[in-house]
Amino acid sequence: MTIYMPLDCDGFAAELADYLEGDAPDAVRAAMETHAAVCADCRQLLEDIGTIRDEAAALPTLTPSRDLWAGIADRIEAPVIPFEKKRSTIVVRRTWMRPAVAAAALVVFTAGITYGVTKKYFDNPASTPPALPGVVATGPSRAPDSVVPPAASAGTSNPTVAIAGPSVPSAPTPNTERRSPTPSGESAPPAGAYLANDGERVIDETRPMYDREIDKLRQIVKARRTQLDPKTITVLEQSIAVIDSAIAQSRRALKADPASGYLAKELNQSLEKKVELLRTAAMLPART
């Protein structure tokens, strides 16, 4: 670039950047200083930029509006858990297992009671069903095929249903007797299968069992209609209609979201309530 000496204002402006950065040759540097000495505007420009530079270097540090440490500490103190994904899977399975095992146990319990009620009723249709039988659990896992009918304790006012797990030796005792297949004639899966499989499958498999129990209890209640008070029948039917509605809603919701543990649990609870209600109705004393 050609530099015309002495510099005019345009030449001064053109060379200013290099001058400020110390990149201008000595001859140019001298020419700029000569021009600034005689030109007030260019001198003012040089002074202003020097002032800006000095003020910039002296700017104070800024302070955040809040203490930022808490947010930093949260991030650096987050624990690192190896194999987190695998661990969470296990937790989910265990979460599922709890209601699943409970549901399986309840079905077995209900099946035993239903069996007792059914047998008692069909052995002697005119009789009043027995009072709610007691239960003796003799093992950690239960299944319908291990239900002992109350016949073994016939003649007592409080028949006992003994439930024995498959891992428990099944030697007959005065109060226990293994029966297989189930009272309905269907062979149920072995009790161990409930614990060996994951929770979802256990819950799914308990639903047909609930349905079977409900069918059996319905037959009893239907057969006993003439023995029961009409008002009681009305209340019973209203209650069953409410529960049936809840069951239908749960089934629809579960169909749309089959993986929902919450919906599965809700459905099983509704089925459980229906079984309880029907069982109560089946055991009501006859109208006098």
């Binding site: 990149d23 202003d48 270097a57 700017l59 500490a73 650096i76």
Partner: protein, 189 residues
């Protein structure tokens, strides 16, 4: 004229209370790291705030800087002062954040870096207005503001800035000169 001397705020004492804390923090001592944070947070925040002009965003970036420093502290060899290392990391965090978050947005903003084309300040002043230098810096176009902040405020050399920004030192000199002229205009001097 020689290059601008390192400003006082930029200089890091060779012996200060944080020396031992650096070693402790590198060994996983969070309390020591908190002391380092207390010692350096304002300088880190200042750089972030002047680079991005948004204080809340600057606070987020400041947190990012210290989290990253915690993660990378084992790599700090003590070849420079911890403050220098941290400051350089701050620049990198700010620049990388802007790259990642603004790829689409940058097409419509004043990302004229390196193109040598002057653009208007992001917040033009009405004639006769005066403002302080801090506010005037915030009105600078992004490229000019970055270079001005790094050079005239933080004391980096053009070669260092050029390396950080991935441009030539000639481009950073041009941006700096433009920034100074725009500031003079904004300050009505």
């Amino acid at each position: 004229m020689s290059a601008v001397a390192l400003p006082e705020s930029m200089t890091v004492p060779t012996s200060y209370a944080g020396d031992s804390d650096v070693a402790l923090a590198a060994a996983g001592d969070r309390l020591a790291f908190e002391r380092l944070y207390r010692l350096h947070v304002n300088r880190v925040f200042s750089l972030c705030a002047r680079m991005v002009t948004d204080r809340s965003r600057a606070e987020e970036l400041t947190q990012d800087v210290f989290v990253r420093a915690w993660e990378k502290l084992h790599l700090f060899r003590g070849e420079s002062a911890f403050g220098t290392w941290l400051h350089r990391m701050t620049v990198n965090v700010v620049l990388n954040a802007r790259k990642t978050e603004g790829r689409n947005r940058a097409r419509f903003e004043d990302d004229e870096e390196g193109d040598g084309v002057d653009s208007l300040p992001s917040r033009p002043l009405a004639p006769g207005d005066r403002m302080d230098l801090e506010a005037a810096i915030a009105t600078l176009p992004k490229g000019a503001r970055r270079v001005f902040t790094l050079h005239d405020i933080e004391g980096y050399k053009h070669e260092e800035i050029a390396e950080m920004l991935g441009v030539t030192s000639g481009a950073t000199k041009a941006q700096l000169h433009r920034a100074r002229l725009l500031l003079r205009e904004a300050l009505n001097r």
